[in-house]
């Protein structure tokens, strides 16, 4: 028996344990983020937010989760039920994979791969497919419109996202997330945000759009498309989309923290705490933005991308290259 375990490569065990850890991490994060989101919204609105379940409503997300689990699973008439229920799974699975390559601390990373950044960008791209399937198979016109919006939005924003990432990659010369983080110093003036402020802003906007966060939450624009692609999902289907949305937010914030905010680098305290603190600051800003701005219109969203973000990103890349070449 022991031999059998020893026969398994160590790497595999690490991945297996890591995967369980990721599941726990994603679940915990979602719970915490839901709570934070509602609490922050509450405070911005000058109301208490969730307050009744547990002290200061701290157990509210768990109650919500239980409610979602207990709900009836409902498939619309005429929907392709296999694809319909596959979509939420396709949505959540890649998000989990992404965490494998993220260095949470100097010694806390599941696999340290040279193509970590590419892996994450590739896997987050799969989410589009999930939303597309969800919208298509829902037999609902609003879902269909939401899916159509999501595809054009994601496709458009992948481009400036990749270009801005490239400018950081050219600076560091590697796609390895650990190396990128390690390449920055412990103090804020040593982070890449100082060298690449424009890239940071562009990347952050793209992240908002890619994760479908307000003001770019067009695929699920409530006042226009009721709930967009997940109009017809109930119970766990909806919960998985919800979970995936928050998981992608966390992944995106991790990338922002690694690329621009020094990752796990920081003075005094252990790296993992610095990393989490930075990730949460980014998340808080995303939540803050959501509760402040109106939603942009669909064509404006694409205009921002094609007319502003892509040229600026290219410009930024060229400047970066010129500086490096010199």
């Amino acid at each position: 028996m022991i031999e059998a375990i020893e026969a398994i490569p160590a790497q595999f065990i690490v991945i297996f344990v890591g995967f369980l850890a990721i599941l726990a991490f994603v679940g915990l994060n979602a719970v915490l983020l839901v709570y934070l989101e509602r609490k922050i919204a509450g405070f911005i609105h000058r109301r208490p937010g969730p307050y009744e379940v547990g002290p200061h409503g701290i157990l509210q997300p768990i109650a919500d989760g239980l409610k979602l689990v207990g709900k009836q699973i409902f498939t619309p008439t005429g929907a392709d039920s296999y694809l319909f229920w596959l979509a939420p799974m396709i949505s959540i699975a890649p998000a989990l994979v992404c965490f494998i390559a993220i260095p949470f601390g100097p010694h806390l990373q599941i696999i340290n791969t040279n193509v970590g950044l590419i892996l994450i960008l590739a896997f987050t791209g799969i989410n589009v497919l999930a939303l597309c399937i969800a919208g298509w198979t829902s037999q609902n016109k609003y879902s269909l419109l939401g899916a159509a919006r999501d595809i054009s939005q994601s496709v458009a924003y992948e481009i400036p996202l990749l270009i801005t990432v490239l400018s950081v990659v050219f600076m560091t010369g590697t796609f390895n997330l650990f190396d990128i983080a390690a390449g920055q110093g412990a103090w804020p003036w040593q982070w890449y945000i100082v060298y690449q402020p424009l890239a940071f802003v562009l990347f952050f906007i793209c992240v908002l759009a890619e994760t479908n966060r307000a003001p770019f939450d067009l695929p699920e624009a409530e006042s226009e498309l009721t709930a967009g692609f997940h109009t017809e999902y109930s119970g766990m289907g909806f919960a998985m989309f919800f979970l995936a949305e928050y998981a992608y937010m966390v992944v995106a914030s991790c990338i922002v923290a690694i690329l621009f905010l020094g990752g796990f680098q920081g003075p005094i305290a252990p790296g993992v705490w610095w990393f989490l603190a930075k990730v949460y600051i980014v998340l808080l800003v995303m939540i803050w933005i959501r509760w402040t701005f109106p939603r942009v219109r669909f064509d404006q969203l694409l205009n921002i991308c094609w007319k502003w973000l892509i040229p600026l990103a290219v410009l930024n890349l060229l400047i970066t290259l010129a500086v490096i070449a010199l």
Binding site: H45, L225, F298, Q300
Partner: protein, 387 residues
């Protein structure tokens, strides 16, 4: 997908069948409403869309139709008090006033000065609450959730003030033939003054949070242009008309009550777009505050209701059309009396009815998001439209 034919809704209801797609193959019929987050109640709009562009739009009404006009014919005049405010629950006092004033004019009941002042103050306070709710709800349509919470804060405070006097917070039934049902006191005057001062500060905050916001400007500027001629053809009034550049306000055009004694502007913007309508309403709230402050300064002493006001009025034979300016436009009451104790015919002119009727023309060729923006900028109250 083949199992679902998105184009031909043969199984649809009466209105969907009447609204068959045109000859084009690549269009979609979309039912927006009656339960849709942006239609503010139970309005249904049938859309024919190509991608996200609207080719045709046709509103379907009647989901909250209650036949208030028939109720008017079977009830006596005082019994009809609670009905008109329930058509437009956001500016209830204006409807209350329209009904009361029409009967007063038909019978020649005198209204004491103090009562007229009280009516002006309360009606303008109510107008502010109506515009505040519109503001919040419009931004909700545009995807900003926070402003409605701020506007409700102020709105609730005004409702607190009004509740002390009128006894209700939404569907007021306060005006009576010949006056109002209760007098106002010093505390009301004080509270109102204080809140007016607070509101002035709040408007600055609203402006920098929302009106100046870049995203909002892009969502409302040059959206839903309604030329003045369209307004005239459809009989649109109120902020919709003033947003199209015509400073037409019943308070000025056919002065009623004591409005001719106050100094206030009629805001008008000739941009004709949703931004024009937005700015008109934002300015109007400030003008209302101006009116309220003037009225409080010059509030006369005296009766709050005419001592000889009839309890069971029986107006003489005749017909009368009385119009006044509601938050959404010109409220009109056509009252025909045959000398009996209930009206022979009472016709309510809801401003939203005419304002909404131009939607199908304006919405053509716009995006769904813009249609939502236009719909919000018309400031619809569906129960008023359906009556």
């Amino acid at each position: 997908m083949s199992s679902m034919d998105l184009r031909l809704d043969t199984s649809g209801d009466y209105y969907a069948r009447k609204f068959q797609p045109t000859k084009r193959e690549d269009t979609l019929i979309l039912n927006m409403g009656p339960q849709h987050p942006s239609t503010h109640g139970v309005l249904r709009i049938l859309l024919e869309i190509e991608g996200e562009y609207i080719l045709r739009a046709d509103p379907v009404l009647g989901y909250v139709h209650r036949m208030h006009e028939k109720m008017g014919e079977v009830m006596s005049y005082p019994q009809y008090y609670p009905n008109p405010p329930r058509t437009d629950y956001l500016h209830a006092l204006a409807w209350n006033w329209a009904h009361v004033a029409a009967v007063e004019r038909l019978m020649g009941i005198e209204v004491p000065e103090r009562a007229e002042y009280i009516r002006v103050i309360t009606c303008e306070l109510n107008r502010i609450t109506s515009h505040l709710l519109w503001w919040g709800a419009y931004l909700l349509d545009l995807g900003a959730f926070t402003p409605i919470m701020y506007s409700f804060d102020d709105r609730e405070r005004i409702q607190d003030i009004l509740q002390r006097i009128t006894g209700s917070r939404l569907t007021y039934c306060y005006y009576r033939f010949g006056g109002v049902s209760d007098d106002i006191d010093d505390r009301f005057v004080e509270d109102t003054r204080r809140h007016c001062a607070v509101m002035k500060e709040r408007f600055k905050m609203f402006k920098s949070l929302v009106t100046d916001n870049f995203i909002l400007r892009k969502r409302v500027e040059e959206i839903g242009e309604i030329p003045l001629e369209t307004c005239r053809k459809y009989g649109a009034t109120g902020p919709v008309l003033r947003g199209s550049g015509k400073a037409y306000d019943v308070r000025r055009a056919e002065p009623y009550s004591v409005y001719d004694r106050f100094d206030f502007n009629i805001p008008a913007y000739d941009t004709c777009d949703a931004m024009g309508r937005y700015l008109v309403r934002m300015d109007e709230m400030q003008e209302s505050i101006k009116i309220i402050e003037q009225a409080l300064d010059t509030l006369p002493e005296g009766d709050y209701i005419h001592p000889k006001a009839p309890k069971r009025p029986k107006p003489p034979v005749g017909d009368i059309y009385f119009a006044l300016e509601g938050a959404r436009g010109k409220i009109g009451i056509h009252l025909v009396s045959d000398g009996g104790k209930s009206p022979y015919r009472i016709k309510l002119r809801a401003p939203g009815y005419s304002n909404l009727s131009l939607f199908s023309e304006v919405a053509q060729g716009t995006l769904i998001s813009d249609a939502v923006s236009i719909l919000g900028s018309l400031d619809l109250v569906i129960p008023e439209i359906d009556r």
